[in-house]
Symmetry: C2
Subunit: 371 residues, 2 copies
Amino acid sequence: MSAATRILHSQQPFTFARGGQLPALELAYECWGELNAARSNAILIFTGLSPDAHAASSPENPEPGWWEFMLGPGKPLDSERFFVICVNSLGSCKGSTGPASLDPATGQPYRLRFPELSLEDIAAATQRAVSALGIEQLFAVVGPSMGGMTTLAWLQQNPAGARHMISISSAAHAEPFSIAIRSLQREMIVSDPAWQDGAYSDAQWPEHGMRMARKLGMISYRSAGEWRERFGRAPQAHYAPRLFGMNFAVESYLEAAAERFIGAFDPCCYLYLSRAMDRFDAAAGQASLSTALAPVRLESALILGVDSDVLFPAHQQQAIHHALQAQGVNSQLQVLSSVQGHDAFLVDSETFAHAVSDYLQNLTPQELPQK
Amino acid sequence: MSAATRILHSQQPFTFARGGQLPALELAYECWGELNAARSNAILIFTGLSPDAHAASSPENPEPGWWEFMLGPGKPLDSERFFVICVNSLGSCKGSTGPASLDPATGQPYRLRFPELSLEDIAAATQRAVSALGIEQLFAVVGPSMGGMTTLAWLQQNPAGARHMISISSAAHAEPFSIAIRSLQREMIVSDPAWQDGAYSDAQWPEHGMRMARKLGMISYRSAGEWRERFGRAPQAHYAPRLFGMNFAVESYLEAAAERFIGAFDPCCYLYLSRAMDRFDAAAGQASLSTALAPVRLESALILGVDSDVLFPAHQQQAIHHALQAQGVNSQLQVLSSVQGHDAFLVDSETFAHAVSDYLQNLTPQELPQK
């Protein structure tokens, strides 16, 4: 965990939306900038599936964060103007309570004894951190990828909780194509002999399942066009050729990406978060997404997507945009052109920095919070 | 094997393009229609990775074949006008010699002792069947998917071997995105504990690796749009819910598709054919694809693709078309609109039957072979 990470020890019982309860929660979070006297300049970031709370560097931790180009002094999420909060998701393994946390009743990790997780649970847990910081209404809530889904869940729980929203490469529900990919990723992990129905040890970790799941993840996060330009049919050089694979640069790229991930994320937490995304549907039980978002009191919204994103495709951005517009929210939709697919918000800094920066700058000057 | 399948016992040694030799080959093939006296009405089909030689029903075998709507009396590949041949690929396991065949030297399957396979080898082996049938020049050669790649290899070996070509949802080389998918499929199989470096038995078959590989195959063969229309977020009903999966209809669809495949295709043959596709590049060692196809003496070509195909995308169809045009071939390109992705040529019968039928009908009447 980052040196800048703080832990909220929330001692009230937490009841999960699909059943189950924990007596208390720990939530890891980081903050940038200062909360103004009116407490009106706070921005909350909900993360994608795997990032931790360390979204960007800070005086306490100069290590670059996962959204370094987006957040900091003078950056689009400007920590000289805004007080920015990023909370590690409930159910993750980066400091917040999740399946990898020790169950105080047994002294062992919860693993499969952890209650089934939903994105609504992540939203509700995160709200504890927002409340603990004394913030009644956020200036804006920002959610890329899974974080955008969680943002919708949070807005349904807190209809007047934020004045503005930035949804990035997200969706109001998982589509069957994305479910198929995540379902296969989960199958890769639970079929690794080391998975042991969740009873893996540090020495016998389902590394291979995680490696393959990450490779499939990368296949779905990037785009064919990017790889065509970047790798073409270049041979691979870094890894010894293995039977039936590793002839091409794209294969060693995937291997390297997987290697970076497999020791860094708990397999059980991964499964819980992955399933939570599949089961999320902001319109569940409602006539339409628009109806489901009717209570939401946003003043404006920016809905960003990427034309080459196959996991959270452009038409899903349109669906959020139209539902908000139908409820009178001043929503802007931008489907950005980028070859980097779903991951563009993490890597195509110029395209995304401009879009977020312009949106926040264009909110009328008297709306700009002052310290 | 189909009752209509014949076996060519070719007793000449066969030398593989990347090294290795076999003393003889067996090739399984089926034929429809009759060869005319001029031997000028033959059409050869090169198959995709997994189909056998039973492309369509016939009097000897009334079971529907894998391309039933395309081939038969009065169908686009009209067996009342044409003599149609389909050969099971060298390296496959449907009657032709491949890694699953018994090595006469040991009485055991070749498995990993089989020489490395290339699409050029499949083309050269198939030509033995064409020659054995007494055909000097084909009226047309037809190749969907991998079969289209093999068609290009075959044309490079036999520049005047066919007057016309129909290439369907194919490519002149594998792109990194497709390589990534196939590489991961191979990794799924060779990491199945039952794989045993190719020493699996019928009782201990790498079923799980094959199941996952087929699921990933289906994800790449179809399209997000098809599944959105077909499944949406419908719950699954056929399979008992399993932990971390099988909540949605799309998951049981994949499970059922995989179940049909896993016992029906030899894992080692699958690996050999998959790798052969990745390594194929019709332009290898040449300045361009156009240069590489310069010797080809086709009179005309029909290049078909599908707008929703992510595995053999439309721009790869354009590349074949442009290279042939540059060499003076009367080439037509049609990127068909179908929601069924790469598999459309197998399932979107109306779209594909029309395209193939129109092309063959429009070849001038005096060109139409008579019995």
